[in-house]
């Protein structure tokens, strides 16, 4: 339990540090006066606006006010949409989440079988092709792959829609694309695009794990017990390999949400990634701040969860933390 407490304090500390960085970044490096006050305003107007916004106060006081706002979930109103920034982010969060979750599922469903095959038959031409493809998956820029997907599957072949979420249906009061056929069709290309890097990653991890573990003594012992190759592979080897893979997938979930910025822009997917890019372009400061705070919070939460999950998965770690 002390371990969990320590991790929680650590996480809290990181969030606090990020509030400082974001605050300093927005209010010190970027000058909010330029953003908030029309350039043709005269001195008196400027001064009045600064007092109204609290910008005449000392910096530490401004920070404390900002921090108080963060604690109360009040990060200002969007200039563009004229609604609370946090609420705006919240309304876009489901779209990003369903895309990110689908992408992670895709990377598991595609990456693990391909990786297992490449690990079992490393010298076959198909395994070599898979590995070569995975290098491309790593090195190709996400946005370029997205463009190519649109060009081939939407423009040339006309099989799949290229932009937007398509039809949505409500569940728990939130609109989801994955509940309708049309929405699902709209999700395929962006989800695939977002998943590509992770497919390559999961595939390589699985392959390396299979190759390493097949050499180990416990596999030979399992075979000497007369177990079927399927049981040796799917139970003995996979259970061992899944521990690092699950950890990595968990950690990558955060980076999938971050990279959704790119995919959402390419596919005009109305999630929070597209929102932040639009907001940066029109300097909608409260939305930028709200996005950064939300994503930092998500990241820290994911890291914490993965740590917990790891201790649950690995019996060796589980015992140590218990004692």
């Amino acid at each position: 339990m002390t371990w969990l407490l320590r991790r929680l304090v650590q996480a809290l500390f990181i969030v606090l540090a990020m509030t400082i960085i974001v605050f300093v970044g927005v209010n010190v490096i970027g000058d909010p006066v330029d953003v908030l006050i029309p350039p043709d305003a005269d001195q008196a107007e400027r001064a009045r606006a600064m007092v109204a916004l609290g910008l005449d106060k000392p910096l530490w006081e401004q920070y404390l006010r900002f921090l108080l706002g963060v604690l109360q979930g009040d990060l200002g109103r969007s200039f563009v949409y004229n609604e609370p920034a946090l609420q705006l982010i919240g309304s876009r969060l489901p779209a990003t989440m369903e895309l990110a979750v689908t992408a992670v599922l895709l990377s598991i469903v595609v990456g693990i079988p391909l990786g297992m095959f490449a690990g079992l038959k490393p010298d076959s031409w198909l395994a070599r092709a898979i590995m070569a493809g995975s290098i491309l998956g790593f090195s190709l820029p996400t946005f370029w792959v997205g463009l190519m997907l649109i060009m081939v599957f939407a423009v040339q072949l006309g099989w799949l829609p290229s932009t937007g979420r398509g039809e949505t249906a409500a569940l728990f009061g939130v609109q989801w694309s994955f509940l309708t056929r049309d929405g699902l069709a709209h999700m395929i290309l962006p989800a695939l695009n977002l998943a590509l890097g992770n497919i390559a990653l999961v595939l390589r991890l699985t392959r390396a794990g299979v190759r390493e573990h097949l050499q180990l003594e416990y596999v030979k012992f399992a075979r000497a017990k007369g177990l079927s190759p399927a049981r040796v592979l799917f139970v003995h080897v996979m259970k061992n390999i899944m521990i690092p893979i699950v950890t990595v997938i968990g950690l990558e979930f955060g980076s999938v949400i971050a990279f959704a910025v790119v995919t959402e822009t390419v596919f005009a997917w109305p999630g929070m990634g597209k929102l932040i890019i639009d907001s940066i372009n029109v300097l909608d400061r409260p939305v930028i701040v709200a996005y950064l705070m939300v994503i930092v919070f998500l990241f820290v939460a994911i890291n914490l969860l993965v740590d917990l999950l790891y201790t649950v998965l690995d019996p060796r770690v589980r015992l140590e933390t218990r004692e």
């Binding site: 003594e217 030979k220 012992f221 000497a224 017990k225 007369g226 019996p315 060796r316």
Partner: protein, 338 residues
């Protein structure tokens, strides 16, 4: 130390040969050339008897064990020979038939108990899956069998220990678990590949006694692979000495240890510390084990052998210098060990 009960008459024992290996060769094809890990090896072991397979690491004893189980992976393959298990040639069997024998009629115990059990599966999973692999029984029945096997090898409170993970056991206890798994189906043959090397001496002695008792009680034939002659002296009925993939000498333990004929066996016995006088220099075999890729022609031991002459550049034939003994040497040492 331990004597084998001589109650069985020689004739019935002869009729109950569990395993007979004839002219077995297992080769590994590598880029650097063919490695003859096992080269024209023959031996047999009878029901309830223990054969000690002795040699340095790399002499091919483990590969011999894996060949019997059909667990030699590419680039290795059985190039020649027959492996007769209760009269059936295992080299002719398909993978499915072999799998039916593994862990069932033929079981194997490995060297390092820290490595052989799967670290992330509970002991009950690892035992019960072995039961299910060869018997159609209920989960309850499989659990009972597993518990009984654990109890048989001397693990206290087996019910509780079944739901533990391997890392919660000590090395000796893990090896007992591995032995219990090997015993689950009361096999006809157990191959034990240096199962006590990684353990403390006291635990080693306990496990030796345990295995010997179990083998005797169930009439199981046992092949004990080791580099340690003193283990063989206490445990085995017969001994086969391997060097560079070949059996150089083979016979009753009492005879071979008392009157070794091959210079290599001589050297091995001479280098057992307890045989050396306190304060005197430990006797050693000169030189190094040759690489299997680069073996001398003829007798592989000749470059380290004090008896060697030009004859030894040819392959020494197998001879039977005495009743029940086999030797592969041109210049046997005939005087007894003092």
């Amino acid at each position: 130390m331990y004597s084998i009960p001589g109650c069985k008459s020689e004739s019935t024992a002869m009729s109950e040969i569990t395993l007979e290996v004839q002219g077995l060769s297992t080769h590994f094809e590598t880029r650097a050339g063919t490695i003859r890990a096992v080269d024209d090896v023959s031996f047999s072991v009878r029901r309830g008897r223990v054969l000690g397979l002795v040699g340095e690491s790399g002499s091919g004893k483990s590969v011999t064990g894996f060949s019997v189980l059909g667990l030699v992976d590419p680039p290795g393959r059985i190039a020649a020979g027959r492996i007769l298990f209760k009269g059936r040639d295992l080299t002719k069997l398909g993978e499915a038939e072999l799998r039916g024998l593994r862990g069932n009629r033929i079981a194997m115990i490995f060297q390092d108990p820290m490595m052989t059990l799967n670290p992330v599966l509970r002991i009950d999973t690892q035992m019960m899956e072995t039961v299910f692999a060869h018997a159609e029984v209920s989960r309850r029945e499989a659990w009972v069998r597993s518990r009984d096997a654990l109890g048989m090898v001397g693990i206290p409170s087996p019910e509780e220990r079944l739901s533990a993970y391997p890392h919660q056991f000590s090395g000796g206890m893990r090896q007992r678990v591995a032995i219990a798994i090997a015993l689950l189906h009361q096999p006809d043959l157990i191959l034990a590949d240096e199962p006590t090397t990684a353990l403390d001496v006291t635990i080693q002695a306990q496990i030796l006694a345990e295995v010997q008792r179990l083998a005797r009680d169930h009439g199981t034939a046992l092949i004990w692979i080791t580099h340690d002659l003193s283990v063989v002296a206490g445990l085995a009925d017969e001994v086969a000495v391997m060097y560079a993939g070949r059996i150089v000498e083979n016979g009753q333990v009492s005879q071979v240890l008392k009157r070794p004929m091959h210079p290599y066996t001589h050297g091995l016995i001479g280098s057992v510390p307890s045989r050396n006088k306190r304060g005197s220099k430990l006797r050693q075999i000169p030189g190094m084990t040759p690489s299997l890729l680069n073996l001398p022609t003829g007798c592989a031991f000749r470059t380290r052998c004090q008896q060697a002459d030009e004859k030894c550049e040819l392959d020494p034939p197998i001879t039977a210098p005495a009743e029940g003994r086999m030797l592969r040497c041109f210049n046997p040492q005939l005087e007894a060990i003092v």
